[in-house]
């Protein structure tokens, strides 16, 4: 039982710690990058879709062809002074990739079958921001 409590808390703490480290390091130096399995000319021919479009004027976006016919790399850098967070960029990149590749962004299951408890609060907090965390 202790494992059930400790590990989600530890995972949540790790995510928070990573966010804080990222914030302290200054997001200006770190690019968030995804590879989208679509050719570069296709991405250059139209504005990028989804939530990346919404933050595009507050971040620097670069496109380049991925090696090995793997599509296009989308790199986003948050400039000094921008109010955009790394979490917003991660979410935007993931949603944009999904829109470009699959034509849609998968929504979480619903309606929920779970009930909130004291023990699952850390996990619920983590999953509420499931596309904003991680290493991207």
């Amino acid at each position: 039982m202790a494992f059930l409590i400790v590990v989600p808390i530890a995972a949540g703490a790790a995510i928070v710690a990573r966010k804080r480290r990222s914030a302290r390091a200054g997001d200006g130096g770190h690019r968030h990058v995804v590879t989208v399995y679509r050719p570069l000319p296709e991405l250059e021919s139209a504005p990028l879709p989804g939530s990346l479009k919404e933050i595009a004027d507050r971040v620097e976006v670069q496109l380049r062809a991925a090696p090995g016919d793997r599509g296009t790399e989308i790199a986003v850098r948050i400039p000094e002074g921008s109010d955009v967070t790394s979490g917003e960029v991660r979410r935007a990149l993931r949603e944009t990739r999904s829109l470009l590749e699959a034509g849609d962004v998968l929504l979480p299951y619903g309606p929920a079958t779970t009930v909130p408890t004291l023990w699952n609060r850390p996990l619920q907090a983590a999953t509420r921001r499931g596309r904003e965390g991680g290493l991207l």
Binding site: M1, F3, A11, E101, G103, T113, G134
Partner: protein, 389 residues
């Protein structure tokens, strides 16, 4: 609707939950007609994969009837009888294009958890914790199937529900172990674990032309199934020196391909099990890798080890020296069901692949908590419990 819910460690109950809804245009809703327990569910039940929430619905191996389709669904219509891959995949990303469907970039709505744990996130799975997307599972009357055109397959008329349901996960997982493990005609193949996945891996090795296929377990009823239904040899590790037997049966070389189909709660005779059990209980390692160690030691020089059993985190006493010095290839994966299910259904239709014997206990969904107890305790020769919602 009724559903089997996880309420806490080793606590299950059938309760009422909201019906699933179409959330994306490519979704469909399936009325579940058969849904199967899996050994990997026991890791969730026992708290070894700690990303569950009270009320989560278990189950990832199932079939049923389509009752509602989203506007973008093209391959299925209401009334179709379909079997569904346990992993969710978009069918359009680079990984899907490589047929590595369980690595899909767009099928997991919670990539942050596994990305933080493992570096990158696999795709989502039904009923397999919030680390795998938090999708409600199939031990329910209805289930939402995202990317339905990619993950659901119409069942040929000549294949019964009883047979087809195991294409959803067990058969496709087992086939993947033999296929990506690189089984070639003439090979000697050893499979650790005579549960449904191990049996299906062994049958795949037989059908791919292996010269000898040897399945290792401690449960005689499962080993009898292997001899009767799979056409493979058996070894009971509680009464045999498995390493010596494998050397003898492979001309002293060791098996060419070793498939591990046991996972993180492996048993073994002797001190090794006590050591691993103690470390796992003390949370000094997350998984008991006994069968992986044995497979690496037994494998011939230059051979291949494929890890099919589910592991969550870290293990101790991993034989990296044997792996490196013997030049082994070690590979693992969650199942790429979309890659194999159409072929498996054809083989099932031709009678090459039979699975009905795996369903040792068939019962209504209302009895699912008792079904899991019987399955976990391996009572009464239970190999798989199948629920009828």
């Amino acid at each position: 609707m009724k559903a089997l819910q996880w309420l806490g460690v080793n606590k299950l109950a059938v309760g009422n939950v909201p019906d699933p809804e179409l959330r994306n245009p490519g979704d469909m809703i399936v009325k579940v007609t058969r849904t199967v327990t899996c050994g990997s569910d026991l890791h969730l039940l026992g708290g070894y994969i700690p990303f569950m929430q009270k009320g989560d619905v278990l189950g990832h191996e199932f079939l049923g009837e389509v009752v509602e389709v989203g506007p973008d669904v093209r391959r299925h219509r209401v009334g179709d009888r379909v079997v569904v891959s346990s992993f969710i995949a978009c069918g359009s990303c680079w990984y899907c294009d490589q047929k590595l469907y369980s690595l899909c970039d767009n099928g997991n709505t919670n990539p942050a958890i596994t990305e933080t744990l493992w570096g990158q996130a696999p795709s989502g799975c039904y009923g397999y914790s919030h680390a795998m997307g938090g999708n409600a599972g199939s031990h329910a009357e209805y289930i939402r199937v995202p990317f339905a055109d990619v993950g659901a397959f119409t069942i040929p008329d000549e294949v019964s529900d009883e047979r087809a349901v195991f294409a959803s996960d067990s058969a496709s997982t087992g086939w993947m172990g033999a296929d990506l493990g690189g089984v070639q005609p003439g090979d000697v193949v050893a499979v650790w674990g005579a549960g449904a996945v191990g049996q299906m891996a062994a049958r795949a090795a037989v059908l791919l032309g292996a010269n000898r296929v040897i399945v290792i377990d401690r449960l005689d009823n499962r080993l009898h199934q292997v001899e009767k239904h799979i056409g493979a040899e058996t070894l009971n590790y509680e009464s045999t020196d498995v390493a010596a037997e494998l050397r003898e049966r492979s001309g002293g070389r060791g098996p060419d391909v070793c498939i591990e189909a046991v996972g993180m709660e492996a048993h073994s005779p002797g001190l090794q099990f006590g050591y691993d059990q103690l470390k796992q209980q003390l949370r000094m390692q997350t998984d008991r890798p006994v069968a992986v160690r044995d497979a690496i030691h037994a494998c011939r020089k230059g051979g291949s080890v494929f890890v099919l059993g589910v592991f969550a985190g870290f293990v101790d006493k991993f034989p990296l020296g044997a792996l490196m010095n013997k030049g082994l290839t070690v590979r693992g994966a969650q199942m790429h069901g979309q890659r194999y299910i159409p072929m498996l259904l054809q083989r099932m239709a031709k009678g090459e692949l039979t699975t009905e014997h795996l369903a040792t206990h068939v019962m209504p969904l209302d009895s699912a908590p008792e079904g899991y107890r019987i399955f976990k305790e391996k009572e009464d020769g239970c190999v798989r419990a199948v629920f009828l919602p």
